[in-house]
């Protein structure tokens, strides 16, 4: 089998100077906090699933820097985000509270994402401009193109950022979305979180090209590959893509190569450990500060989880609610 992107990569060697990035300690610590938060919430969700308390959703372990790096480059409240089901870290970085994540995972009536109606991890938030996460792989890429099209007609500065796995790039929707976005130079950023495996199918048996980014050539847009465990490299790449989109230069396909980390065992590809190591080397963080941060986050997360556990399930009498803006019914005798 061919080499995959994963074989080619040398995993995170974070270095702001190499990227000519001007980042402050404050920024780095904020992003590190977001990465830790995502990791710790992900752990709780894994526990809930393993314990049989919840089902659905997928781990973002290994994808944290890829997602947070892209969110760091966008303008919250202006830009639109069309995620897929692994984008837990992206949602937390945007500002979705852990309480919302747990209420959603446990399908509570007060689940602000769907009122208990949607499979967990199909994110939605009007306030954060998070739209249309689908359980169907790749369909949201077309919605991203449509939102960008609408924004341009209205003369708004919004960029549509959409995430998906490499498996989605074999879907027709992906082809159609990139074709339309490329054709009209729409302000869309297509981010492929390539973890090398679609459910169980390795990349080499999914596509005849070596890099997902190679597919961009067919749609008249740049395709960029970036090490998704290197937070700063992702930020630099995403900033370029946003700048191009806002300048009317059209869409970008970013292939963020990430590991799908399965266990809690230390892994040299772990983006959280990579950023931690960088912070320690810069003396922006001490071991004691790191432990304190983890403990504080843990307390906050456990409180949110407890609140969700205690929240009631949806009222069964509401099962048919929210189908239409109006009642959707006509005649009183209708079944």
């Amino acid at each position: 089998m061919r080499e995959s992107d994963h074989d080619l990569l040398r995993w995170a060697r974070i270095d702001a100077r190499r990227l000519s990035l001007d980042v402050s300690r404050e920024h780095l610590l904020r992003w590190y906090r977001q990465m830790l938060l995502a990791r710790l919430v992900d752990d709780r969700l894994a526990d809930l699933r393993a314990g049989g308390y919840a089902s659905g959703g997928a781990s973002c372990r290994g994808h944290e820097a890829a997602q947070i790096g892209c969110i760091a480059a966008l303008s919250i409240g202006t830009d639109f985000i069309l995620p897929y089901y692994r984008d837990l870290a992206a949602m937390l970085a945007l500002g979705m509270p852990p309480r919302a994540i747990f209420l959603n995972q446990l399908s509570r009536g007060s689940d602000p994402i769907s009122n208990g109606r949607m499979r967990p991890a199909q994110w939605n938030s009007r306030a954060l401009n998070v739209i249309s996460a689908s359980g169907l792989v790749g369909t949201q890429t077309l919605h991203a193109a449509g939102i960008a099209f609408a924004a341009r007609i209205r003369g708004e500065a919004a960029v549509a950022l959409t995430f998906f796995g490499e498996g989605a790039t074999s879907q027709g929707d992906f082809h159609e979305a990139l074709n339309f976005a490329g054709l009209h130079h729409l302000p869309v950023i297509f981010v492929c979180e390539n973890n090398g495996i679609a459910l169980s199918t390795p990349q080499g048996t999914q596509m005849p090209v070596q890099h997902v980014a190679d597919r961009a050539a067919a749609y008249g847009m740049p395709g960029v590959i970036v090490d998704g465990t290197d937070l700063l490299a992702v930020i630099a790449t995403a900033r370029d893509a946003f700048a191009n989109a806002r300048a009317g230069k059209g869409p970008t396909l970013i292939e963020v190569v990430v590991p799908r980390l399965a266990t809690d065992a230390p892994d040299p590809r772990d983006p959280v450990l990579a950023l931690r190591g960088y912070l320690l080397s810069r003396q922006d963080l001490t071991d004691a500060q790191d432990e304190r941060l983890r403990a504080d986050l843990g307390i906050m997360i456990d409180a949110a989880l407890q609140e969700a556990v205690n929240a009631p399930s949806p009222d069964p009498a509401t099962v048919a609610e929210h189908l239409f803006s109006d009642s959707g019914a006509s005649s009183r005798k209708e079944a």
């Binding site: 169907l136 919605h143 449509g146 099209f149 609408a150 341009r152 007609i153 006509s330 005649s331 079944a335």
Partner: protein, 331 residues
């Protein structure tokens, strides 16, 4: 009032709504270059610009998928699918994304989208271009499906659909584009509700329950039946979902007999759905089994004489009525 075609009525509806609300955009294949395959959108691009009247690549998922995104992003798109037959390519976006979005997200997401498309056969377009598939979509909760039969309804329902907060599938009929009918003058404001049917002809003896082009066949059949002394009531169900069941139930409470008439296939279709509801809620008012006139159970053939045999004609309706009338009816 003046008399215009069904096609012109649809175009006027879009023109008026585009002028009234800058969020209204039109998107589809060849809607600019050709003015639409059935010339419904002719002139709109010149009037409103090519950003608001957008020709797409030949890909139905682009049309519906980007229109859904635009709708969720604050626009009011009218998507034209060349024919309902091609909507199968976009059915994932229609069924799985647009129809479910509000429910899945607990009432927080609206998809104010209109998908316009013709259905129906009779113009020698063959098996893959002559289908009537509204029941495939109407089956899904969250779907609004309407099928206007007259120019008045075409304009009024399209305007109502554009203003609706939910997705509406407005299914036209390719043999209706050229028919003429009375429509209020341009700029005279009216809409037609998306949940009410209409009695097209009153009668006491039998209810012909129908929609779309078959309304006109039923009206012709009713005129013939009247010569035999049988007064048929023609009930235009025009809203397939939500359905105006009361209208049909009130009609059979009066006539005690019903024939459901459609050009689609018999099994598991719209007509069977309507008949089942009439049995469920109107059984006590029926003096005879409900008759059902449909297209023949085969893909639409191409040869002219075969195609003629495949779709219902006026006399099929007359025969069906005679079969369920009491013999004493020779008045």
């Amino acid at each position: 009032m003046r008399t215009i075609t069904y096609r012109e009525a649809l175009r006027e509806a879009m023109r008026e709504e585009m002028a009234r609300d800058e969020r209204v955009i039109v998107i589809g294949e060849d809607i600019d270059g050709y003015g639409g395959t059935y010339a419904v959108t002719k002139g709109l691009a010149d009037e409103f610009g090519r950003e608001r009247v957008r020709d797409t690549p030949l890909a139905e998922e682009i049309i519906v998928g980007t229109a859904i995104g635009a709708a969720m992003g604050g626009m009011r798109p009218v998507a034209e699918i060349m024919t309902i037959n091609f909507a199968l390519l976009a059915s994932d976006q229609i069924v799985n994304a647009a129809a479910k979005a509000r429910y899945m997200f607990g009432g927080q997401v609206s998809v104010p989208l209109v998908v316009r498309m013709p259905a129906g056969g009779g113009a020698q377009r063959g098996a893959q271009h002559s289908q009537t598939l509204e029941s495939w979509f109407a089956h899904v909760p969250g779907m609004k499906v309407v099928m206007p039969a007259t120019p008045y309804d075409a304009k009024g329902m399209l305007k109502a659909a554009i203003r609706d907060e939910d997705m509406v599938l407005l299914i036209e009929h390719e043999l209706l584009y050229g028919i003429k009918g009375e429509v209020p003058d341009e700029g005279v404001e009216y809409t037609v509700p998306l949940n009410r049917g209409e009695i097209r002809r009153e009668g006491r003896d039998v209810s012909l329950i129908t929609f779309s082009r078959s309304v006109h066949l039923c009206l012709q059949a009713a005129e013939e039946l009247a010569k035999e002394g049988i007064e048929a009531e023609v009930v235009d169900m025009r809203c397939i979902r939500p359905i105006d069941l009361d209208l049909a139930l009130d009609s059979i409470a009066k006539t005690n007999r019903a024939i459901v008439v459609e050009e689609g296939w018999k099994y598991y279709g719209t007509g069977q759905g309507i008949a089942a509801l009439l049995y469920e809620y109107g059984f006590d008012n029926l003096d005879a089994p409900i008759g059902h006139v449909t297209g023949v159970d085969a893909p639409a053939p191409y040869a002219k004489n075969l195609e003629k045999a495949a779709f219902p004609v006026r006399n099929d309706i007359i025969d069906a009525v005679r079969r369920i009338m009491p013999q004493r009816v020779a008045r």
